[in-house]
Amino acid sequence: MQNRSVVHQAFWTWPAAREAKAAVDRRENVEEFERAALPHLNDLLRTAIHLSGDRSRAEDAVQETCVQALRSMDRFTHGTNMRAWLFGILFNVVRHQRRKSFRFRLFGDSEDDRQDQIAAAPVLPDRLTDGSILSALDRIPQNFREVVLLVDVEEFSYKEAAEIIGVPVGTVMSRLSRGRAALRTELADIAKAWGIGTRAMEGGRS
């Protein structure tokens, strides 16, 4: 009788103990992960906003990135670049999101149609606001925007950017040059539409 009761008890407590231990392990993991990852949260979100063109989708993407990263913490090699690793996951998540659903806004992806602009990149107009820089950034093709965000904003090296996006370093270099040229073209267009930096309309619109 006693024996049975022990067996009974063992049978019921074992999974509970395992769960309790798992909970403790998970809390420790989560805390370690938070210390390492949360400092990069805002940078991840800012990048995601410009990748998916929509804030709530960007927030979802960063949340998914953090959860996936936490789950695969064991695959992260300590001492390597946590920030680049997180951005790599973010790019995968966003790519998945874009494939899965209709794009919030359609961005051109072609690289070829901008090639001729490299030689003719215009000078940068003065008196441009942050707002016009951002809208120009959102108008250039996605492939170009990705490298501009990684290199110019997040200050990753070409090698890191290449690993995050999953392309060769040479591709990063060429996309970056074309991306910057495309940005300048967009900025010149914006400036022209608003008479910024042109003699005829120095006073601006009224």
């Binding site: 949260l41 949340q63 996936q68 899965k100 919030f104 950034l137 970056l176």
Partner: protein
């Protein structure tokens, strides 16, 4: 602009030079060339300035502390936004294939063309309801449904079509608004539409992917855009932003008028400001009881 072969070689490497991503010897070569060549120095300076401006602009986007709280909460209970979707992905894929085969091509076309974006638009608009003022939501729902989620064909409807879509009462609003919206933007649509039991007069302008909506809707009892913060000295224009969209608004007699766009904030306000007097005087002579 006269460019030498040295310039051409340097130009190829200027971006990488600005990022200090070249090998030591090439860095030195380019550095020397830039010291001697004023034109390449200007170009390098432009690249550096652009880098800095893009950096500052993107980083200036403030992230609310609530976002961090949300992430921490989701980490602690292991929730991911699309977890359920991913677990069901193989099943869902199988179902999709079955559906795609089951339906005729026309029906499928129809489905992907309308239901898809509408679902995402609805989701976004519903979420907006909770976090923006009612007078802002009024304009945003129209902009998102009618302008953002629209398949723009290569050729916009003819002017005659738009005049007839606007109806006799509003057709003369088209040239008035066209005149004040930046010339680079093309008029894509001018129509009357309804959403949530509310009627709108809506003009949509587009420049590639950037949109400007000019919207007018009848003010209901006690409604006024003046609850929004003033955007200019006269206080006539009220403005706010919702995600990447800028909203500028003014009361025009029995109507509320809005400019919702992807423009920078100031430029959006400038458009609204230019529209205040012509739109107010036009809408003033429309009898709102007989609008639709």
């Amino acid at each position: 602009m006269k460019q030498t072969t040295a310039c051409q070689a340097a130009r190829m490497h200027l971006d990488a030079f600005a990022d200090s991503e070249l090998d030591a010897a090439t860095m030195e070569d380019i550095g020397r060339h830039v010291e001697e060549c004023a034109e390449c120095a200007v170009e390098l300076n432009t690249i550096r300035l652009l880098k800095a401006r893009v950096h500052t602009a993107v980083k200036s986007n403030e992230i609310s502390p609530e976002f961090r709280t949300r992430i921490v909460a989701s980490l602690r209970d292991g929730r991911a936004p699309s977890r359920a979707t991913r677990q069901w992905a193989p099943l869902a894929a199988a179902a999709m294939i079955a559906v795609a085969f089951g339906l005729s091509w026309t029906v499928y076309q129809n489905w992907s063309g309308t239901t898809g974006p509408a679902v995402t638009a609805d989701r976004y608009v519903n979420a907006l309801k909770a976090r923006v003022a009612a007078v802002v939501y009024t304009a945003m729902t129209d902009h998102i449904h009618c302008a953002v989620f629209r398949d723009y064909s290569k050729n916009p409807p003819s002017r005659e079509q738009m005049v007839s879509d606007m109806g006799p009462q509003f057709k003369d609003l088209i040239p008035i608004v066209r005149d004040k919206v930046p010339a680079a933007y093309r008029l894509e649509q001018a129509h009357r539409c309804t959403s949530g039991g509310r009627e709108y007069v809506h003009l949509i302008f587009r420049d590639r992917l950037a949109l400007i909506s000019v919207i007018a809707t009848i003010r209901k009892q006690g409604e006024s855009v003046n609850e929004l913060p003033a955007a200019n000295q006269s206080g006539r224009i009220r403005a706010t932003s919702v995600d990447q969209y800028q909203v500028a608004a003014f009361d025009a007699g029995k109507f509320m008028a809005y400019v919702v766009s992807d423009l920078p904030r100031n430029e959006n306000v400038v458009v609204a400001d230019a529209l205040v007097s012509p739109m107010s005087s036009f809408l003033g002579q429309v009898s709102p009881v007989r609008v639709f």
